[in-house]
């Protein structure tokens, strides 16, 4: 994480030192790549070079295609040979209100409506054309407030402001109905930065820059966070200190009645507001953890405070002891089964922050103004760590799932044999062909899962739909429930058929259900369907990465034999139906519907 690219952004420094920052970032091995086409109404060169920095900082190596200046619409509708050859995964349409034909002051309400409809139709035609031609994800700016208003305050009723509001409403409605279309909210960014900084008419007239160059770091940081979120790279867990972070004061010294939390004091209100913000993060799927230097019992007492918004049950992991924080944060990462690069650590104490930054460079540690909880909210917002491109039902349930994970861990401690423990869980698995309803979650899983992942192929939703539509594909999802609750959709296996041979292209499983035997049940179901189709042999591919060592021996366990290994193509394993046997048992009842509903 490059120091110059962390919020709050110093736009002038970033713009001036672009090349240096780029060189420094390129020295680090990226963990992924992305192909982004930028279609702009204004000059896009600086936008692309700044966007590149933020994407590299997230570990993504981007390659770009830029449409000719001002030709975003033509390029979207008719393509170009270069863009066709480029095969974008993401098409970003960089339009702003500089690209809009404004209504005249003398236009009637009907005239304005007709103009708005025409504009929206034009954009929709472009989006449709991109979808048909490239099948890529689309990221589209909405519109910011104009540099000047026609009517002053009345503008909000019948002028430019009202016009923008109508277009933005329409764009938002479109985004709500289309799973591969994402709205980039520059309306908010421009308001945040200030319209006087966002709009620079001289820069527009000289260089056709919209917005101003100073606004580019803010815009591209936001855009990179959105793209990262689409690709599953958002962070997933917020680790919090307690004293002077979640409440004012030090509970070990001040006692429960002495900490400041709630309406008695202004300081207390600030901390309650921060707790409410944190709670809202957890309600939409961000995992919470505590890392505090305190006696555990004393720390837990803080949540019994009558004005406490958060409760013990909200936390997926709770580390309160006197050991160094980096050590505890590692434990937290293990407990919640996430990589360190999925964590954000918030602490009022600058010494602790620095210690964690040095020891665990992959953890994001925003700077905050210690003792000022409003600054904590600002730091987390401006850092864009938990950006969320789409919100699925699974995200809602995540907090509850973390709580039931803790209960499962406690139960396991009671059993003599692991097998007995598994039996006691009363697991039920639903293993069936992909359903339309689950496609977002499945695409999300292919992007987020790194450890139990045989080939680490990433898919956007449109790519997934295309893969499934090919003839002879078997695509199964796995949902796992046990007596503590529903783990949700946690595994995906996808194989394509050529003649008598079935090749497994994709097989992954969420870390939260490791060591339950679901993989054996998934394979058994795949085998059953393969046999029913007359398949003679199954080929499994293992593509080693830095993170998926745990599945190195999976095919061997299932009875496959390794037939070859190649540096680029990975290892190929073979299972001959009727000759090889899978001896793995599993303790779950499997439900699988026989009618495969087409997507």
């Amino acid at each position: 994480m490059h120091p110059l690219l962390q919020a709050p952004l110093d736009a002038a420094a970033i713009l001036q030192k672009k090349r240096r920052i780029r060189r420094e970032l390129l020295a680090v091995e990226p963990s992924g790549a992305v192909r982004v086409a930028v279609l702009g109404g204004s000059t896009t060169a600086d936008l692309v070079s700044t966007l590149e920095l933020f994407l590299l900082d997230m570990g993504l190596k981007p390659s770009f295609y830029e449409s000719d200046y001002g030709k975003w619409y033509e390029t979207a509708c008719f393509g170009t040979p270069e863009m066709d050859a480029f095969r974008p995964q993401i098409v970003y349409i960089h339009t702003t209100c500089a690209d809009l034909p404004w209504p005249q002051a003398t236009d009637s309400a009907d005239d304005r409506k007709v103009l708005a409809t025409n504009i929206c139709q034009r954009y929709e035609a472009a989006w449709q054309a991109i979808k048909v031609r490239y099948g890529s994800v689309i990221v589209q700016n909405n519109f910011e407030e104009p540099g000047w208003r026609q009517f002053g305050s009345l503008d909000a009723v019948q002028g430019r402001s009202a016009f923008i509001a109508e277009l933005n409403r329409h764009f938002a409605d479109y985004a709500a109905g289309d799973n591969s279309f994402f709205l980039h909210d520059i309306h908010y960014l421009a308001a945040f930065l200030g319209l006087s900084k966002w709009h620079d008419p001289e820069q527009y007239h000289l260089y056709k820059l919209a917005p101003s160059q100073e606004a580019l770091p803010l815009l591209t940081h936001s855009l990179a966070a959105l793209i990262g979120s689409i690709l599953g790279k958002s962070r997933k867990c917020l680790v919090l200190d307690l004293d002077n972070t979640l409440w004012g004061g030090i509970i070990g010294d001040d006692g429960l009645s002495g900490i400041r939390l709630g309406h008695e004091t202004a300081a207390g209100e600030g901390y309650a507001a921060f707790q409410m913000y944190v709670k809202s993060l957890s309600l939409r799927g961000v995992a919470l953890a505590v890392c505090s230097k305190n006696e555990e019992s004393v720390a837990k007492e803080g949540f019994t405070h009558p004005d406490s918004v958060l409760a013990l049950g909200d936390f997926a992991s709770f580390m309160a002891n006197w050991e160094p924080k980096p050590l505890n944060i590692r434990r937290i990462a293990q407990q919640v089964n996430l990589g360190l690069d999925s964590l954000v650590f918030l602490d009022d104490n600058p010494a602790e922050r620095e210690l964690v930054r040095q020891a665990l460079p992959q953890v994001a540690v925003p700077d905050v103004d210690g003792g000022n909880p409003a600054s904590y909210i600002r730091a987390l917002e401006e850092g864009r760590y938990f950006e969320m491109a789409c919100f699925t039902a699974a995200d809602c349930q995540r907090a509850a799932q973390y709580a039931s994970n803790r209960e499962r861990a406690e139960l396991q401690a009671e059993f003599a044999s692991y097998d007995e423990f598994l039996r006691s869980l009363e697991m039920r698995a639903e293993i069936a062909p992909f359903k339309e309803l689950y496609m977002d979650r499945i695409a999300q899983l292919t992007n987020k899962t790194n450890q139990f992942n045989l080939t680490t192929h990433r898919y956007t939703r449109p790519e997934l739909e295309r893969a499934v539509a090919e003839l002879g594909t078997i695509a199964l999802y796995g949902r796992l429930t046990d007596k503590f609750g529903d783990n949700g959709l946690v595994s995906v296996i996808m194989a394509h058929r050529e003649g008598q041979r079935l090749s497994i292209d994709l097989w992954l499983m969420s870390c939260r259900v490791l060591k339950r035997g679901l993989e054996y049940a998934m394979f058994a179901e795949l085998l059953r369907r393969a046999e029913a189709q007359g398949v003679q042999e199954i080929v499994g591919t293992y593509l080693p990465t830095a993170k998926n060592g745990m599945v190195r021996g999976l095919y061997g366990e299932l009875g496959f034999r390794r037939v070859d290994a190649d540096a680029k193509e990975g290892e190929h394993w073979l299972f001959r139906i009727g000759m090889d046997e899978c001896r793995q048992t599993y303790y779950m009842v499997v439900e699988s519907n026989e009618d495969s509903v087409g997507i």
């Binding site: 002038a12 001036q16 090349r19 240096r20 000289l206 160059q213």
Partner: protein, 81 residues
């Protein structure tokens, strides 16, 4: 109020940042043909960085008339007066 030497020194830092070259040396006569990657995008970046650094704003005609670094230094000096 900076004098010509100081302005040039500041400008050299800006150029070194923009071209990511700590060994770059510029003088009043330096122009686009002397620096390898000084294309129209870099030119825009230079002008905007200089404007931000010295807290000045140039008019389009002034920017169009720039022939070398010396002209740019002169523009900044004039603005400060």
């Amino acid at each position: 109020m900076k004098n010509r030497i100081e302005i040039l020194a500041d400008m050299q830092e800006i150029f070194r940042d923009i071209f990511d070259d700590d060994g770059l040396v510029i003088g009043p006569a330096t122009s686009a043909k002397d620096v390898d990657e000084w294309d129209s995008i870099a030119h825009m970046d230079i002008v905007l960085s200089v404007e931000r650094h010295f807290n000045v704003k140039f008019r389009p005609e002034e920017i169009a008339a720039l022939r070398n670094v010396g002209d740019l230094v002169q523009l900044v000096e004039d603005r400060q007066a």
